[in-house]
């Protein structure tokens, strides 16, 4: 019974924490904002350092933060843009494995992973911009031809990047040391900075993959798009399982799982917090802008959006790219923060991939607050509370949580179909409500006075 109470307290505390953070971020005074954010970071950091939060809680916290980023990305794609996607988990996996591989090679005296992804991301970025500008001039190119052009450019850029990486990686050999005896660049602060860069690179890599994948696939109708993205998640998972045989990455060890993924350790909460905050801020700024309005308009009515001068294909692609960027960042953060230094393809199967979808529906489609709250609630409820609670009833009992959980979801959908928080947003995430003009306000008041 104690445990049940404690779990409830934890969930309430987490929700209060999120509310407080959003309130502070939404504050108009800049110093309050900075102080509040520092405080929000500090509280958890102290609780982690003094081990008030156990290793178990710590695992839940980092997992929930990673899931928050992934689910926010999916909410952008499905909740705000209306494109039913099951591919989010694939991008999550790509982010996790990319960043894990960069860091693994780095601490084992090989900079080629870092350099290849760095050059690859930059060069492919240029290719995408260049080909895009070219296609703007040459009109009427069918989507598949455009895709082929992009793909050829990407393959070429990738080959150049890998070549350059192998050419330049010996330069780092001295600083990185060898396996077992890491040099100055492969430990301490430089390693922590590498984590920061590699998380961003992993996110950018996911985003570029999503651009190439989304270009042809987003022209499909809603349901077909869902199936295609499900296929994407399965393809990514299959590649992970066979990464040491059909892909040239022996260190990923295929289906056995990647061991020895470098961990952020004492810096973990700092990076997790920074990235989660960045994702939340970027997404909120995107949603509450002119582009964000077009993203929502496409969800509401595609034909009307077209007739109002909105480039539908571009808008869908944009939402998809940003969603995948967030997923990639979430995956990379997850790979380095859990503390187990182990990545298994089993984490990235398509069945688990329904989790973000469940979270965003649970929290409310089109509600950022709902997604954040549901991500934390989901992890603490499913993993934290139910697993331990049922564990006390017997060894087989934890299996029941996958019965209790869908029932909870079912009940919620019956009672509150718009999701837990519906369209409610807290503090920082609220859309600015433009006040009525003075004369208009007076008119409205007069109208209501007349009616009453």
């Amino acid at each position: 019974m104690d445990f049940l109470l404690l779990s409830m307290v934890k969930i309430v505390a987490v929700l209060a924490y999120i509310y407080g953070l959003m309130w502070v971020l939404g504050h108009t005074k800049r110093w309050v904002k900075f102080l509040g954010v520092a405080l929000a970071y500090g509280i958890i950091q102290i609780a982690l350092s003094t081990e008030i939060l156990t290793a178990f809680d710590r695992g839940l916290l980092f997992q929930a933060s990673a899931i928050t980023m992934v689910s926010l990305g999916l909410n952008l794609i499905y909740g705000f843009n209306g494109q039913f996607s099951l591919g989010q988990w694939g991008f999550y996996g790509i982010g996790a494995y990319t960043s894990a591989d960069i860091a693994w090679r780095w601490v084992n005296g090989d900079a080629s992973g870092f350099l290849a992804v760095l050059f690859g991301v930059v060069l492919v970025g240029f290719v995408i911009i260049g080909v895009g500008a070219f296609l703007q001039k040459v009109r009427g190119v069918p989507v598949i031809s455009a895709f082929t052009l992009y793909l050829l450019g990407t393959v070429l850029a990738g080959a150049i990047a890998v070549g350059l990486a192998h050419l330049l990686s010996p330069l780092f050999a001295g600083g990185l040391g060898v396996t077992g005896a890491p040099g100055p660049l492969a430990q301490g602060l430089p390693l922590q900075l590498l984590f920061f860069v590699s998380v961003i690179l992993a996110g950018a890599f996911s985003a570029e993959v999503s651009f190439l994948f989304g270009l042809p696939v987003l022209t499909l109708g809603s349901d077909y798009f869902g199936i295609a993205t499900l296929g994407f998640t399965i393809v990514v998972n299959t590649l992970m399982v066979n990464s040491d045989t059909i892909l040239p990455f022996p260190e990923m060890k295929g289906g056995r799982g990647m061991v020895g993924v470098p961990q952020m350790n004492e810096f973990a909460w700092l990076w997790v917090f920074v990235f989660m905050l960045l994702v939340i801020i970027v997404m909120r700024n995107l949603i509450h802008s002119s582009t964000g309005r077009t993203i929502m308009a496409v969800r509401e009515d595609e034909i009307a959006a077209k007739a109002m001068g909105i480039d539908i294909a571009q808008t869908k692609l944009l939402a998809f790219i940003f969603g995948s960027l967030f997923a990639g960042i979430g995956g990379a953060v997850y790979a380095h923060s859990t503390g187990t230094s182990f990545l298994s393809p089993g984490t990235f199967t398509f069945l688990v991939g329904f989790n973000p979808l469940i979270i965003i529906v649970f929290g409310g489609l089109g509600s950022m607050t709902g997604t954040i709250a549901a991500s934390f609630g989901w992890i603490f409820f499913l993993e934290g509370m139910l697993r331990v609670l049922l564990g006390q009833l017997g060894t087989e009992a934890p299996t029941w949580r996958f019965v209790l959980y869908p029932i909870t979801l079912l009940l919620l959908m019956l009672i509150r179909p718009q999701g837990l928080l519906g369209l409610v947003e807290w503090g920082f995430l609220k859309a600015k409500i433009h006040p009525l003009r003075r004369s208009a306000a007076a008119d409205a008041a007069a109208d209501s006075a007349k009616l009453s």
Partner: protein, 263 residues
């Protein structure tokens, strides 16, 4: 560029087949700047298809559409809108879960004046332009007497107000030619009188050319300066409302053969 001799909209030989069905056949029409013209005809005559062809929702099988001296055939709908053709829909297509203000602001997107990077960084340009954009939209709503309901979700509005929001949203695209698809559908006689006043008002205020589809004859005859009548995808008559009323082919199309003798 647009000399008085050159028509604003010039459609020649427009034809659209859906499979074997010919929805619009050899449709031609010319509109000069400032015209207020009507397109009428019985149900299924191909009027809305003609609108969808002009705005690029469908691509024509054959024919030419010149707007302001430029060919519109093969352009995407959003490009056609940005060139200056706005439209409303027969069955209202607002963005139901967005507020009235956001509905109008969406149309401003192509000329919002700030880009994605500005919005993510929330820099000064974003602040200034967004404020300007919202103010412009509010001014706009004031013209249509919608300023009091700017924060309502569009789906919660009564029918007449939804129509007005739709027209406001189309005008926010800054068009030179406005296509109205049955603007008076479902309106009561008083609302129709208001609508007629409003259409005259927006034409003068924004220097528009207006082409509208309508079934309510009182409305069409009262407001349009010239009419084109379609039946079975073909133009069967054109002229002033007076000429159209007396045209036996039009009476036949609406009431059937022999009706002309009865009246």
């Amino acid at each position: 560029m647009n000399t008085p001799q050159q028509p604003l909209l010039n459609i020649q030989g427009l034809t659209k087949f859906f499979g074997g069905l010919c929805a619009v056949k050899d449709f031609s029409m010319t509109l000069n700047a400032g015209d207020l013209a009507g397109l009428i005809g019985p149900n299924g005559a191909g009027k809305t298809t003609a609108f969808n062809l002009i705005t690029g929702i469908y691509h024509p099988t054959q024919g030419e559409i010149d707007f302001n001296g430029e060919s519109m055939v093969g352009l995407e709908p959003f490009e056609i809108t940005r060139k200056g053709i706005g439209r409303t829909f027969q069955n209202i297509r607002l963005f139901p879960n967005l507020t009235v203000l956001d509905n109008v602001c969406v149309s401003y997107h192509p000329h919002a004046g700030y880009n994605l990077v500005d919005s993510i960084l929330r820099n000064h340009r974003y602040g200034a332009r967004e404020k300007e954009l919202v103010e412009r939209a509010q001014d706009f709503l004031a013209i249509f007497k919608l300023e009091g309901i700017q924060n309502e979700q569009a789906k919660n509005l009564p029918y007449g107000e939804q129509r007005r929001v739709e027209i406001a949203r189309a005008l926010a695209c800054n068009p030179r030619l406005l296509l109205l698809d049955e603007p008076a559908a479902g309106m009561n006689p008083r609302e129709i009188v208001d609508l007629m006043e409003m259409i005259h008002f927006i034409r003068d205020r924004f220097g528009l050319t207006i082409l509208l589809i309508e079934h309510q004859m009182r409305f069409v005859m009262g407001i349009c300066e010239k009419l084109t009548v379609m039946d079975f995808g073909e133009v069967i008559a054109r002229g002033t409302p007076k000429e159209i009323q007396d045209d036996p082919r039009v009476v036949e199309a609406y009431l059937g053969k022999g009706a002309a003798h009865v009246s």
